[in-house]
């Protein structure tokens, strides 16, 4: 049936194809635009009204959510009233259009702009100069910023650190998440265990930094320790160390920062794995057990392959989060003590030094690092016949 749609598609002429294309674009743009206008009007009400705070909050919630749902319904209704052929062509764009439009406006266009900025010097392209003329101006430096990135000590250190983060942080988050999800699935105390492991996710980064300060804090050896790890160390007869600020063991002091993020993130992996594990039909597992497979064998030979899709998804998203990691590092060490990562360098250059060219180049490098992950994902999808 799906093949029939495609076949019909091909039989149409160039003119109607153009119209179809136009229709798609219009739809993609119109839905968010109208949503916007409608919500905006309602919002002018909300902003200027003097009703008590909680009414405004409640109305805001209802209006925001209801408005969007309403719009989908309306546009879908319009598209469905058209002749079948047009419905087929345009309906996907009712579905996919708003998402793509928003993504392009909020993420893709700024990324392109960032690339444009990275080709210029500190103060960006000259003001008031046309797009094409700006390339001829003094501020244009081409790929010089990128060359500088690969030669500066702090940035090579940041790359090395990000690699460590991915190697250790992502791996441990995934493994621990899977482990906890599997164990909890078979235990009586499932809900309690999962809630406690998930709890750190509810803590903001600022709160997490306070918590881990209580773990890592260092005081002179004669004084009472207020950091748990040092207290244990001192009680065992050793000298307290600075853990995440322990420059002497750089780059391994990064591990203590990675530990914090693993602690925070495993809940995410656990929740997704848990949902996936629950989707495995009981019959398959029982059949394997009846055939005499041990639990370990069932786990590795049946469960993991079954949820491989989820494992890849979780792994991809965690790797990508890890590439972007910023808050924890910034709050704990500010990137000092050899803990810089790409995102902290970006902040330093863009906001502290206001070097727009250099900061933008760093951001683009970050975008490029995700290409291997993207390729891997696509290959997986092709194998699993998603496309």
């Amino acid at each position: 049936m799906v093949h029939m749609e495609v076949a019909q598609e091909r039989r149409l002429g160039a003119g109607s194809r153009f119209l179809a294309w136009l229709g798609r674009v219009l739809l993609a743009v119109m839905i968010p635009l109208i949503a916007f206008v409608v919500i905006y009007e309602g919002f002018l009400f909300l902003r200027d009204s003097q009703a008590p705070r909680w009414i405004i909050a409640a109305v805001a919630i209802v209006w925001g959510v209801g408005g969007v749902a309403l719009l989908y319904w309306v546009f879908n209704g319009i598209v469905e009233r058209l002749p079948d052929v047009w419905t087929q062509r345009l309906q996907p764009f009712v579905f996919v259009g708003p998402a793509m439009a928003i993504l392009i406006w909020y993420l893709a266009l700024p990324a392109v702009r960032t690339f444009y900025l990275s080709l210029f010097g500190r103060d960006g392209p000259p003001q008031g100069v046309g797009f094409f003329q700006s390339f001829g101006s003094d501020a244009f430096v081409g790929l010089q910023n990128y060359v500088a990135i690969f030669t500066e000590r702090l940035l090579t250190e940041a790359f090395r650190n990000n690699l460590m983060w991915i190697a250790f942080g992502s791996t441990f988050s995934v493994i621990l998440g899977l482990l906890v999800a599997t164990l909890a699935d078979r235990s009586r105390f499932e809900r309690v265990a999962k809630s406690l492991v998930f709890l750190p996710m509810a803590i903001s980064f600022v709160g997490a930094s306070v918590i881990w300060n209580f773990m890592y804090e260092i005081r002179p050896v004669e004084q009472p320790q207020i950091g748990l790890l040092n207290a244990l160390l001192v009680a065992a007869g050793g000298n307290p160390v600075a853990w995440d600020k322990w420059v002497a063991i750089a780059p391994w002091n990064n591990l203590f920062l990675i530990l914090i993020v693993v602690w925070l993130q495993t809940g995410y992996a656990m929740v997704l794995f848990s949902a996936a594990l629950k989707g495995i039909p009981d019959e398959i597992l029982e059949a394997a057990r009846v055939d005499g497979a041990t639990e370990i064998q069932v786990f590795f030979r049946i469960m993991i392959p079954y949820i491989m899709g989820t494992i890849i998804t979780v792994w991809t998203t965690i790797v990508i989060f890890t590439l972007k990691i910023f808050d924890v590092v910034w709050v704990m060490t500010g990137g000092q003590f050899g803990t810089h990562v790409i995102a902290t360098q970006f902040y330093r250059q863009s906001f502290t030094a206001r070097n727009s060219g250099y900061g933008s180049a760093i951001a683009i490098i970050l975008l490029l690092t995700v290409i291997p992950v993207m390729i891997y994902n696509l290959r997986q999808f092709r194998e699993q016949e998603a496309f």
């Binding site: 109305v59 209802v62 500010g334």
Partner: protein, 470 residues
């Protein structure tokens, strides 16, 4: 089923709209938008030689504002300070608001740096920004965002309100390469202070040192008595290392000439030079001696600067000397009394030929949007009454020449103000004046690396020089 859900949703939405528009109207809340919501003013009201508790620049916009020309307008001020300094700010501008009818909105918070950068780039700059590090203002001035106050404030007035040193310290390079004034000084912190536990100090019979040799002798004396004399901590998250820059600047002022200091701050005297090295090595004598520092050298980089003086207040004190700016009193234990439990003395000079310099760090008010009411507020900031909240409650000192010691409500700040007056020269915190990538970047991190032993002095100095923006 789903269809009816949608209808219900639509109904709900319509109903809530209706409700909101004819709902009860209790007392109006503050205008939600912090930016201008300017309503046009009527003609100027006749002036009654208005008695205002602050000096007014003749022929300026403040005069017109007091006459009521800009009544009802709003000026936004952005800054990095929060509780309790924002309360002090509200207090300080009350007199202005009452006299002129202009509303002053303070919209600052901790993320000042990133937020200001984003706002300025997006065209959303605040009217005035409070820069605790004027070096960062230079970045904005060079890109043409800051309005030079001397375009309408005459030099004679500025010279009357401020010491020449302050006016010099406000000069930065403008967009066309010429020098311009970045803003007006508002308040400052005195830094060349060493805090000590007065009651125990006197009981032990120690004497306050007046020269560097005496300071070292006192340090050795306390060490011989079995204690570690100094409490030092430089950890501060992303800003780790800044107290070390303070010590470097103090020693620079005491071991070399003021000209060299100024050249160093401008980037003409390199970090990798004998003068800077000497300054750093002087304080390293104290810092790197494990017997002299509480927690040893290794403890310095991981001790939060605010927690560092805490051992001083234990019974008996675990350390006796702590050099820090006067804001540190906010970290002292509650109940510790100034003059009784703790007191300060001036960090002694090293070389008598350089006199008794005093290191200060202050906040500069820079103007982004040029409107008459903004100009009026800038003029107000040139008077010491614009810092009255701090004057009466402590926490900072007024940068103005016309601030007399009796304006200070807190004896501690008064004492510091008197010290500043007695100083033979004073200079601004160098790292705050240097461009952001050095003064809030490589200088901090370089010092941290040096103190922690991650890099040696040569590497660090070269790196700092290399990071200076060309």
């Amino acid at each position: 089923m789903k269809r009816s859900l949608f209808s219900i949703l639509v109904l709900l939405v319509v109903v809530s709209m209706v409700l909101t528009s004819c709902g009860p109207t209790p007392a109006p809340t503050e205008a939600p938008k912090p930016t201008e919501g300017a309503k046009p003013t009527e003609g100027a009201k006749p002036t009654e030689a208005a008695k205002v508790p602050f000096a007014v620049m003749p022929g300026g916009y403040l005069e017109k504002a007091i006459a009521g020309e800009y009544k009802g307008k709003t000026v936004t001020v952005d800054g990095p300070f929060t509780n309790p300094d924002d309360q002090r700010f509200f207090e300080s501008v009350k007199a202005f608001e009452e006299a002129t009818g202009i509303k002053v909105n303070y919209i600052g918070d901790k993320e000042f740096e990133a937020r200001l950068s984003i706002a300025v780039d997006a065209g959303n700059a605040p009217d005035i920004a409070d820069f605790p590090q004027p070096g960062k203002a230079e970045n904005y001035a060079r890109q043409g965002h800051i309005v030079d106050p001397t375009t309408w404030i005459p030099e004679s007035w500025l010279k009357q309100q401020y010491n020449q040193s302050w006016l010099d310290m406000a000069m930065v390079t403008g967009p066309d390469g010429n020098k311009m004034t970045a803003g007006v000084w508002h308040r400052f912190n005195g830094k060349s202070l060493v805090w000590y536990p007065k009651d125990d100090f006197d009981a032990a019979g120690y004497k306050i040192p007046t020269t560097w040799e005496e300071l070292l002798a006192l340090t050795q004396q306390i060490a011989d008595d079995g204690d570690t004399p100094w409490c030092i901590g430089i950890e501060s998250g992303a800003a780790t290392g800044w107290p070390a820059t303070d010590w470097t600047e103090e020693l620079m002022l005491r071991t070399t000439s003021l000209e060299n200091y100024d050249r160093w701050v401008k980037g003409e005297l390199k970090f990798d030079s004998p003068e800077v090295r000497k300054a750093i090595e002087t304080w390293s004598q104290i810092w790197f001696n494990d017997k002299y520092v509480y927690g040893g050298r290794n403890g310095i980089v991981s001790t939060f600067f605010g927690d560092a003086p805490a051992p001083m207040f234990e019974q008996p004190p675990k350390c006796w000397l702590h050099k820090q700016g006067n804001f540190i009193t906010g970290f002292f234990p509650e109940g510790a009394k100034a003059g009784v439990d703790y007191d300060f003395f001036y960090l002694p000079p090293v070389d008598p030929q350089y006199g008794k310099p005093f290191l200060v760090a202050g906040d500069l008010m820079a103007m982004f949007n040029d409107r008459p009411e903004v100009r009026a507020l800038m003029e107000y900031f040139t008077t010491p009454q614009s810092a009255s909240g701090w004057l009466t409650n402590g926490g900072a000192l007024a940068a103005h020449k016309t601030a007399t010691p009796d304006m200070y409500g807190v004896p501690l700040e008064r004492g510091i103000a008197e010290l500043v007056v007695q100083a033979t020269s004073f200079r601004f915190d160098g790292s705050d004046m240097m461009p952001g990538e050095v003064g809030a970047g490589s200088f901090w991190t370089g010092m941290t690396d040096y103190v922690s032993g991650a890099a040696d002095l040569d590497t660090v100095l070269k790196e700092i020089d290399a990071s200076w923006p060309r």
